[in-house]
Point group: D3
Chain length 224, copies 6
Amino acid sequence: MGAVVVQDIERADPKVIAGLAAAGVATVHEAQGRTGCLASHMRPIWAGAQVAGSAVTISAPPGDNWMLHVAIEQVREGDILVLAPTSPCDNGYFGDLLATSAMARGCRGLVIDAGVRDVRDLTAMGFPVWSKAISAQGTVKATLGSVNVPVVCAGQAVNPGDVVVADDDGVVVVPRAAAAEVLAAAEARLANEAAKRARLAAGELGLDMYQMREALAAKGLKYV
Amino acid sequence: MGAVVVQDIERADPKVIAGLAAAGVATVHEAQGRTGCLASHMRPIWAGAQVAGSAVTISAPPGDNWMLHVAIEQVREGDILVLAPTSPCDNGYFGDLLATSAMARGCRGLVIDAGVRDVRDLTAMGFPVWSKAISAQGTVKATLGSVNVPVVCAGQAVNPGDVVVADDDGVVVVPRAAAAEVLAAAEARLANEAAKRARLAAGELGLDMYQMREALAAKGLKYV
Amino acid sequence: MGAVVVQDIERADPKVIAGLAAAGVATVHEAQGRTGCLASHMRPIWAGAQVAGSAVTISAPPGDNWMLHVAIEQVREGDILVLAPTSPCDNGYFGDLLATSAMARGCRGLVIDAGVRDVRDLTAMGFPVWSKAISAQGTVKATLGSVNVPVVCAGQAVNPGDVVVADDDGVVVVPRAAAAEVLAAAEARLANEAAKRARLAAGELGLDMYQMREALAAKGLKYV
Amino acid sequence: MGAVVVQDIERADPKVIAGLAAAGVATVHEAQGRTGCLASHMRPIWAGAQVAGSAVTISAPPGDNWMLHVAIEQVREGDILVLAPTSPCDNGYFGDLLATSAMARGCRGLVIDAGVRDVRDLTAMGFPVWSKAISAQGTVKATLGSVNVPVVCAGQAVNPGDVVVADDDGVVVVPRAAAAEVLAAAEARLANEAAKRARLAAGELGLDMYQMREALAAKGLKYV
Amino acid sequence: MGAVVVQDIERADPKVIAGLAAAGVATVHEAQGRTGCLASHMRPIWAGAQVAGSAVTISAPPGDNWMLHVAIEQVREGDILVLAPTSPCDNGYFGDLLATSAMARGCRGLVIDAGVRDVRDLTAMGFPVWSKAISAQGTVKATLGSVNVPVVCAGQAVNPGDVVVADDDGVVVVPRAAAAEVLAAAEARLANEAAKRARLAAGELGLDMYQMREALAAKGLKYV
Amino acid sequence: MGAVVVQDIERADPKVIAGLAAAGVATVHEAQGRTGCLASHMRPIWAGAQVAGSAVTISAPPGDNWMLHVAIEQVREGDILVLAPTSPCDNGYFGDLLATSAMARGCRGLVIDAGVRDVRDLTAMGFPVWSKAISAQGTVKATLGSVNVPVVCAGQAVNPGDVVVADDDGVVVVPRAAAAEVLAAAEARLANEAAKRARLAAGELGLDMYQMREALAAKGLKYV
């Protein structure tokens, strides 16, 4: 298949993307039928960011960040870079210079199943990253990979243009074609939660609010 | 044995529990003969909490949080929920709605050898959690487990009503029957530490303060 | 070979050490040819410290912190303790009392491929630690090790007197004899980065600034 | 999307599948451009099997093997079951009874990013399995999953009907549409290897046979 | 509590123990309600052993095998040594000399959540071991532990005299008091399996044999 | 420092190397003061090999096996290749063609803190490998490393010409200069073991043979 850069990818509606960002990872994940979460080793390098964007995907060799430079040219306002190494690697592929360049293109963040470095600078710049590792170990620029091809990142298939949502709970991917429908389900869910929260805060039990007692008894739960 | 909920558990004296919370994990662990620490993968989702409480234990299947709803009904003021999955799992069993409900019952925190989610909300609510993972991956409510039975959580046996102490160093469990004795030993230890700290701060060496030189020489340590 | 304490070690020039601290881990690592990074599991217990110092090395048995007391006597102003257990261990070898003592000797920090405890106190004291784990699990004082011998810590060979640089990106070790040369290379690198950062911030692409397009095409990268 | 069983999947030409089995994992992986290898934690439960077959995929909840029973009905002669749990799990989803049933349907093996049990029986039966774990820990039958939908298994996207090749080196997946082309490339590679092997056995160096000396010198390799 | 050796422990009926050995780990685990499996990292050092015996438990410090010598004196014909380190450790606590001594006392095997060595000798001797690691790294004899106290080994609570069953699937522990009842359930299960195996081998589907179709449809499974 | 190949390395006396091979890993490790064991994740790809040889070391980038070709030219009869990647990597750096070439040069085996492939062929050829992983994932030939420089492999410093001993217990490294002395200590140890083994086999307890009872009592061990 060779090394390719796909230049024209479709993206979801920016309003839908904004709605998914506002809903957050846990809600979006539930709204699409409990699918799409990246592995729990993907952690934010600083707390508090909550973003969504269109995936510009990168398939890169272990220890080689050349394709990040190629990918940044493909970034448009509102995109999120998603890098999947072709085998497990914790090197620091990305630091403050690449972040400066990415931000200049309107990039909203990086999701990388490998390492990053310059985390103090990235934090000061407000550039959010979800990664497997933090490592100063540098990379080379010797071997090609691809940009905007389907990848598997941290256990999830990500296609270019899919919507990536990320916050302190981790990262979830929403297939581009399903984004509007997932947003509708997420918003319905959120509307529902405020009322539940108030009832639980007032001391009502989930056992009663969700009417679980009968099902538990039918399954054979014994109180002793 | 089947799925059971034990409703009547004994708890330690609240004053003893408060004393153990004040002493903190490292001191309590030493005071009971260097036993009781949960595995080091149990980390707080936010820094700074230091609590102790009576364990309400939960044995739950992987990927199924039904028993958390059952357990919350058993919580009394001052309890801590302790969840052990029956096999390794990093799913997010617990989020802001369950925390709201648990807090309404007086719950002081959650210790879970699995994942939690909504960590930004949990942090804002001041609800402390010590967990193996942070993950938005949701769970089902399909299979029974048990509440207030003996469990093994992160490598330690925990019985319902045992005192769980948790802070930024992790989590330690104190058998209920030993709690008063452990507190006494912890307080003796603390009384002793202030004087030691002052001497060390003044430049006295541990080698001298603890009179280690002779034992080291006897073992054969050579200075070259 | 037996258990030894080497008392007289050579150290690098304090000005060079200060320069390396200012350059930071990622830059120093690149400046010495992308070598010397400790494994990425070595994380700071609190964010924001950036230090360098001369390594006082410790080879210690698993679960035994006796040699830390011995090592502290060997610390001079500006040193960093580097502890390598002789087999994998996550016990909490070091806490606030040892930190008090180390600080009284002018110690700038601890790098330990094992665990530490009292992390809230260590944070409040401003004593920086890079470790594999945080654990309250205590250690014994029963078996000898050595101080100021060559060790392998988190995958890197460290000799006594080598310069250890540590910040939020992790830890890098610089051989003592190479320190001045590495500093020169690091400073040249830093001088170069400000200009690059400005160009990238202005929207210039790395592809153009680093003149990568030709090499990528020669390797066969296809744009589609 | 809900839980579905796709009953009609396309499969590759049996002759192509047989050819890929004969070529083996490493050769097939190279022949398709070094792609498609599942993670290295996927190990055979017994040594010596070398198979290929059409993937019947299973997406299953953690700790729940209900969908395996559903999937076996979909198996045709020459298929391989591929199970991906929806979150990390090491439970023993599969044992000798399921293997008996699968073999009766012509199933050639199981690839599972989770655990299996009854491994002595499976070995005696000659039923090959590549798994993440061996565990007697049983599963429930309570929650739906899907059969013959796209999954990510051990880091690779697998579509129903893709060709799965497995041997002592692990597992590789070949997209169904590419199977014939990959086989041709694999056979060309194999034809080439015998001659190389003979030259290397005779003492010729790879440096000479592959004409690497000039490129190494150009990159700056120094002999000292 | 201090370091103790409990000399008089109760053991289960040897005939029951023999029955549990014959049933094997997976069956015993199911027969006691899917409980008691040790973590899946506990693997046999050689394939084919299938044993059961009474647990002589050992709580030992990391890197210190002194208590193994103490424990061997407590072994009676038919016992299995169960060693749990007080914190994670992969050292080789046990080799051919200790095995010679243990076999001379009638010991049937070792279950150790740490490492062993001399595995070629142990294999030749026919002494079975289930361990977390194989490592030549030796241990010291400097710090006390305890023998025949309750321990947690690889995630399961084990009491002295409990029945430990181990085979190629791993290790399961049966509380002594429940052993006879569990054996009865295991034998009922086994009696049942032969018939099932024959029907499945004849091509009957589990979906039909276990009458799952209706429940699957009720849950909403769709065939497309 | 750049990429170098050191062509002239000193090796230990072949008779000493043969003696160390005969002694085996565990004995050699004890004989040199319990030092030198590589991490326990280094496992043989087939059981039963027991070898020693002079280390020809390789420092290689992640996912790049170019330096293996370079290193094979440096191999003399009786050498063992030792490859340390510069960051964690599980790729299959080595397969049957490289083994054919290495064997033609008299190479006795490979120790690699990464992956290998073609393990069925390597087994049939009788070429022993100790590795971290088995993986078909291929590597590139794009970036230089070094041959016969000091490396850290699986946690141990290895210098070119050091003696590497490997068997089913793992791998130990003996500094070249110490090899004769370590062999003498190992042989003394072995001479001693036969007598001990006979006494233990006859039922004598280690407690008595090693005269441990008094020391245990002095430490406070209580029999109850």
